[in-house]
């Protein structure tokens, strides 16, 4: 499985964590979280939405959320990189980072169809990952499983694992009970004697193993144990009492059946007090592993209250919410509320770099970093004290380190954090000021392209009332549409922009919302002036129809198909009650036409 690793930009590498070294990594991570200022997070998933299912320039926060929800529910994270870091404003500034790269896989540990019954993969995405040297075998064979908080509470009701039960104060016992108890007691004592008191030397291994066979000895892990069948809770209590009476080195474990009722008590022999503590810890850990798994990391992040720094936050945090917390709520508002309960402060680096004028056009992290490199002098010394050393750098940890580095530079420029207070009474900005603003990413993700967009930066607020969705134009290009539409109706002689949303549908953005409304009105009344428009097979609808398509989740078809299905119902009803909202229409967020050809 020697994976050909992609040539790595940075020599630093994160600690690779699988289920083999998870427990120890979590302990280390906990300590690092304590001492750090921020935590950067990045995820490697099995795909991203394509076509009009991606966040588009016409999307409102609401529809962008619904699209992020779709992506979070269908694709599977395979690696999650977590990087606690601290910034020291010495000169030069120092960044100390502790990157971890967790490999996760939604293995169904409890056979309940959880955490996810199935997931989608996008083959082009997997190909790229494979070319970058992603080790799928490591992930699938040894990835850490997990359950979300909601799934865990469900599983705890459904699945019963052997557990410790506190001893209740003994009640009055009947004769039958005391007979049962003394019988069990002598049985356990006999069995224990074989281990507690070293055998006479001449006893021979055959005899001792025969002895064990007869006494019904088993092993629990590496420790000897004996299983005693019980048929009621009362009997469990009696066995626990019996074991308790005999010696302190016995650990009784209640073994439940499928329905959760006690089936047997497994009494385990420990050789010393330390051994007993070790066993108790093991038992706790093994159930934790089954019920929480990787989520322990999320819980740690959450309880540490450190600000989370990420890129592409809307996508990554909806994913984290749906996989590790609970199913995603139906709207953005509820999601933000629910997310705040888990992570109170989340910083989107792309929001930060938009605060620096010339950086606004940067298409991705790489572009922003290289711009900073060229235009600003922000020396930062990066220290990564604990390195794995052995393996190369995976794409995902590279991403998390980039986020870390970019955040360090930006926070230096923007004077975020108490670290930057000192200079001549300057006021520092609290990181909270930049928190919880997410940008839907309309851009090509993951490309290492450092070009800035060529187009002028003309983001402007446009009301959704100004947008008309047009379809039925049979593969015409934007340019063709621009010259073709004015011939059909005088409304189109006014100024409007055209953007292709997928190969079947385009958005017309009118400068004047009245024009758009008038067009919709004429369409719904089938005005004769639109005869040539209709006879060309053209259809149009307002934003409300698109919103409904997103809300109903009609993601399976082309946009034209989905709009067509919904438009007939909506057309009449919604013209009157329009709740318009705003989008940030940015002509630089252009779709690459080549993808649709």
């Amino acid at each position: 499985m020697a994976a050909p690793r992609a040539a790595a930009a940075a020599a630093a590498s994160a600690k690779q964590v699988t289920r083999r070294n998870f427990a120890e990594a979590v302990r280390d991570l906990g300590a690092h979280l304590e001492s750090c200022d921020y935590v950067a997070v990045a995820a490697q998933k099995t795909g991203a939405p394509t076509g009009w299912r991606r966040a588009l320039p016409v999307d409102t926060a609401e529809t962008a959320y619904l699209k992020a929800k779709l992506a979070a529910e269908s694709f599977q994270p395979l690696q999650i990189a977590v990087c606690p870091f601290l910034l020291r404003n010495s000169s030069p500034s120092t960044l100390v980072a502790y990157p971890y790269n967790f490999h996760i896989f939604p293995r169904d540990e409890l056979q309940l169809g959880m955490p996810s019954y199935s997931f989608s993969c996008q083959s082009s995405y997997l190909s790229t990952m494979a070319n970058d040297g992603f080790d799928f075998n490591m992930c699938i064979y040894d990835g850490i499983s997990y359950l979300s908080r909601v799934q865990e509470s469900f599983a705890r009701q459904k699945v019963f694992t052997p557990h410790l039960r506190p001893l209740l104060p003994s009640q009055s016992t009947s004769v039958a009970d005391s007979v049962f108890k003394s019988r069990i007691k002598s049985r356990i004592m006999h069995w224990r004697k074989g281990y507690a008191e070293p055998n006479k030397k001449d006893d021979g291994s055959l005899v001792s193993s025969l002895c064990r066979l007869i006494l019904g000895g088993e092993t629990y892990g590496s420790r000897p144990s004996i299983s005693i069948d019980v048929c009621s809770d009362q009997q469990v209590q009696l066995v626990l009492e019996a074991a308790n009476h005999i010696s302190d080195d016995l650990v009784p474990l209640v073994v439940p059946d499928k329905a959760g009722a006690a089936r047997a008590v497994c009494v385990i022999f420990t050789s010393s007090k330390e051994d007993k503590n070790l066993l108790l810890m093991d038992i706790q850990q093994s159930t934790e592993e089954k019920f929480r798994g990787f989520r322990e990391v999320i819980d740690l992040l959450s309880s540490s209250q450190k600000p989370i720094v990420s890129y592409n936050c809307l996508n990554d945090l909806t994913m984290m919410h749906s996989k590790f917390v609970a199913p995603l709520p139906p709207n953005m508002h509820e999601f933000m509320c629910s997310l705040k309960m888990v992570f109170s402060n989340v910083v989107d680096v792309s929001h930060l770099w938009r605060q620096i004028g010339p950086l606004r056009k940067a298409k991705n992290i790489q572009a922003a970093l290289s711009y900073l490199q060229r235009q600003y002098f922000v020396p930062i010394e990066i220290k990564i004290p604990e390195q794995d050393g052995t393996s190369g750098v995976t794409k995902n940890e590279q991403n998390v380190l980039r986020i870390t580095k970019l955040f360090a530079k930006l926070s230096n420029l923007l004077k975020i954090g108490p670290e930057y207070q000192l200079k001549s009474g300057e006021q520092y900005a609290a990181v909270e000021e930049y928190c919880n603003v997410f940008y839907p990413s309309c851009m090509v993700e993951d490309s290492d392209d450092v070009d800035f967009a060529n187009e002028p930066d003309t983001a402007k607020a446009v009301s959704t009332d100004n947008i008309i969705f047009l379809w039925g134009f049979r593969g015409k290009s934007v340019k063709e549409l621009k010259s073709y539409l004015p011939g059909l109706h005088q409304i189109f002689s006014e100024d409007f922009e055209v953007k292709l949303l997928d190969k079947t549908c385009s958005a017309l953005i009118f400068c004047n919302s009245d024009t758009a409304m008038q067009l919709l009105k004429e369409i719904s009344s089938e005005s004769p002036s639109l005869n040539s428009f209709f006879s060309e097979g053209l259809k149009a609808a307002g934003f409300e129809v698109y919103r409904k398509v997103c809300r109903l989740g009609l993601w399976d078809s082309d946009l034209a198909e989905a709009l067509e299905g919904v438009s007939s119902e909506v057309a009449a009803s919604t013209l009157s009650e329009c709740n318009s909202s705003q989008i940030y229409w940015n002509s630089s967020l252009m779709l690459d036409l080549k993808e649709y050809l």
Binding site: F105, Q111, S118, S120, S123, S127, A130, F136, I140, Y141
Partner: protein, 717 residues
């Protein structure tokens, strides 16, 4: 293992026979630890071409070919499992859903040739890694589903996902190939017509930036200079290496015409150059071609006359078309193997292979047809002879007796029918096994890996071995088979081939030659045969409601024997089969009325257990089919049903006559009376019905909890 193999290989002949009587090693126990000792050729995109050539010959010589597929999953949601009481159209919808959603990751092909000299079969197991890479830029990006348990299952058997995703062979189905070629031809026509007519550009770029204007002017001068040299000294460039006056251009030749290579320009600059040439030079042509490794090469070519220019452009276009066609051809990839099997018309042998066949159809032929009959007939055209070893096991009494109580999985059949060693104490009933050798190829031993269970190549081999043994039980004597004979037309076998079970629990077989489905002899039903007209689908009830309670409360209203069975689809939906067909409408009407009336009666009514929560919906069986045919895939049936109904809202709304209400009110009262009267023996009936409910509960448990056993069955171990 490899060492042992090598010792068995006679050294001198390059192509050595790896001698192995069917049995020399036991099938590996448990996980994929340790191979079976059977060398299986591993094929990735690196060695596909050479393997294909070899395989063609092997298939041609073969008597039959074992086939197996490993998929990324089987069911996209628990309720998409096939149930015994599914109607045939529903069952096909579920099969189609599975074949379309999941990816094929490995294809196992194992030709078996009868060697009369040794009176043994010679097998050549091949294991092809498949990955639906996007080979053509204009194909839509492919998305597929993975079922977590299936992936985990493959991982348990050491499936190499890295090889699969990095080196897997891609494919185009026949339909996709046709579409791609059509698109090419259209594009070609467009381009040829465009190049002849509109050369004056509509797509002029305005020159705004100073840098662009300067660059354009400089280029104009340079080209002019170069062109003047070419025109003035027509012979000088023939000397080849002559440096032209315009120092930075070096003359090369393109299709017998002088040309300049344009290297190191950005795409924006190239656009500017193209514009300059179009505007200022009638005799210089901008030509873009694609080299061997798909890199584009741009040239400026001198062409003295207009006729010559047209000729040149035509030439270039044709080259382009050819290279694109070649690219489409090479994108066919793994489908070549299927085309090869199809064109040789050999007997294909699979184990419980309907899903494999459906996968093959959907990935390599085209979209699956809408009905199982059409599917069967189109499959029959592609593979005229298919034998299913699972079906064959059920047709022979002796085998049935032998395999009694045994799992019908492939590995179990293999270990049972193909005994571990020749000296193995035969049961009196079993026949002497057919000898089977596996041929390895020592010279390229690197691509051989000892086969292991649940690797498609080895499974294909096991399937073939099982088939060979089963044939002996059918009294087929291979010794009397001449190489020309088609085994498929052997009269002892003929009546058993082309019969596939639509699912493991359907209790029917479908005849591929006629498309007709008929009951499978000897199949033991767990449930009474369903009557679909009597079935109501109910979903969305409270999660605490158990199937048994549903049965009880319907019985309270409709009478004790009115419900034949309640079958649980998942925790959110049930199918209730009534005794009488009219009960279906009665139930739906009653439900509608109860939901309309907001009185104490509707709360006290026995059906309120089901209706509690207000989300309960009910419909006839056809709705179940519609829900299954949807492309949505929600985890819970109730969510799926809601999603499907949201798009076709009006369909499910029950229209209830207002004047019906009073009538039903009466019956509601009757119903409550009925229950109170019957309360005495209600408990009795309850306990009597427990048997039924137990079965359904058992089934849920089977479906939900016993994941491993289920997969075993599904993946046809």
């Amino acid at each position: 293992m490899q060492g042992r193999l090598r010792r068995l290989l006679p050294a001198p002949p390059p192509r050595a026979l790896l001698f192995r009587s069917l049995s020399s090693s036991p099938p590996p126990k448990g996980g994929g630890d340790g191979g079976s000792g059977v060398p299986v050729k591993q094929v990735t995109r690196g060695n596909l071409a050479e393997v294909l050539e070899e395989l063609r010959g092997r298939v041609r010589e073969a008597t039959f070919v074992g086939l197996d597929l490993e998929m990324s999953g089987v069911t996209s949601a628990p309720w998409r499992d096939t149930f015994e009481l599914d109607r045939d159209d529903v069952r096909y919808l579920k099969l189609r859903d599975s074949a379309e959603r999941f990816a094929a990751l490995q294809l196992g092909v194992c030709p078996f040739r009868w060697d009369p000299a040794k009176s043994a079969f010679v097998a050549h197991p091949h294991n092809f890694f498949i990955f639906p890479r996007k080979e053509l830029s204009d194909c839509p990006s492919h998305e597929f589903l993975c079922q977590t348990t299936s992936i985990d299952f493959l991982a348990k058997y050491q499936f190499d996902f890295n090889t699969c995703f990095r080196e897997g062979i891609s494919y185009l189905s026949r339909a996709q190939e046709e579409e791609a070629l059509q698109k090419l031809n259209l594009l070609h026509q467009d381009q040829t017509s465009a190049s002849s007519t509109a050369s004056e550009g509509d797509g002029d770029m305005p020159l705004e930036r100073a840098a662009d204007i300067l660059f354009t002017e400089r280029m104009k001068l340079n080209f002019k200079e170069w062109r003047d040299v070419i025109v003035s000294k027509p012979d000088s460039h023939l000397l080849g290496n002559t440096k032209c006056a315009a120092g930075q251009f070096q003359t090369v030749f393109f299709k017998m015409r002088p040309a300049i290579m344009l290297n190191g320009f950005s795409s924006h600059q190239l656009q500017l150059i193209e514009q300059v040439l179009r505007k200022n030079f009638r005799d210089l042509v901008y030509v873009c071609t694609f080299g061997e490794d798909d890199t584009s090469e741009k040239r400026v070519v001198y062409s003295d006359t207009d006729e010559d220019k047209i000729l040149l452009m035509k030439d270039v276009q044709e080259d382009l078309l050819k290279s694109r066609e070649a690219r489409v051809k090479s994108a066919i990839g793994i489908r070549h193997v299927i085309d090869l099997l199809s064109s040789e018309r050999k007997l294909i042998v699979g184990h419980s292979c309907i899903l494999d066949i459906a996968q093959v159809y959907s990935k390599f032929v085209g979209p699956l047809p809408s009905s199982i009959k059409e599917f069967a007939l189109s499959i029959h055209k592609i593979f005229p002879h298919i034998a299913d070893t699972r079906h064959l096991m059920s047709v022979n009494q002796a085998v049935q007796k032998l395999m009694k109580q045994k799992s019908k999985s492939l590995s179990s059949a293999f270990s049972f029918l193909c005994p571990a060693s020749p000296s193995y104490a035969m049961k009196p009933s079993s026949l002497s096994p057919v000898k089977i050798e596996v041929e390895g190829d020592e010279t390229k031993s690197s691509c051989f890996i000892s086969g292991a269970k649940h690797e498609a190549g080895y499974d294909a081999y096991m399937t073939g071995c099982v088939f060979a043994q089963l044939c002996t039980y059918l009294d087929i004597e291979f010794d009397q088979l001449s190489p020309q004979d088609n085994l498929a037309t052997n009269n002892k076998l003929q009546k058993h081939i082309n019969l596939l079970s639509p699912s493991w629990n359907s209790g029917t077989v479908i005849d591929l030659s006629s498309g007709m489905e008929r009951p499978e002899p000897g199949y033991m039903r767990r449930y009474p045969a369903p009557v679909y007209d009597n079935i109501v689908l109910i979903w969305g009830f409270m999660s605490k409601v158990r199937p048994k309670e549903i049965k009880d409360c319907i019985c309270k209203v409709f009478g004790l024997g009115s419900v034949i069975s309640v079958f649980s689809i998942d925790s959110t939906a049930v199918l209730v089969q009534f005794k009488k067909p009219e009960s279906v409408n009665d139930f739906l009407d009653l439900k509608a009325v109860l939901e309309r009336t907001d009185s104490a009666i509707s709360i006290l009514h026995p059906l309120s257990t089901i209706l509690e929560g207000g989300q309960t919906r009910a419909a006839k069986y056809d709705t179940y089919r519609d829900i299954c045919s949807s492309s949505e895939s929600k985890y819970l049936f109730a969510d799926q049903a809601e999603a499907v109904c949201a798009t076709s809202e009006n369909q499910l709304q029950e229209n209830v006559d207002d004047n019906l209400i009073s009538g039903v009110h009466q019956s509601i009262l009757d119903g409550t009376v009925l229950t109170s009267v019957n309360k005495g023996d209600g408990t009795k009936s309850g306990s009597k019905n427990e048997g039924d409910a137990d079965i359904t509960c058992q089934h849920i448990l089977d479906a939900l909890h016993d994941g491993r056993a289920l997969i075993g069955r599904r993946m046809r171990s």
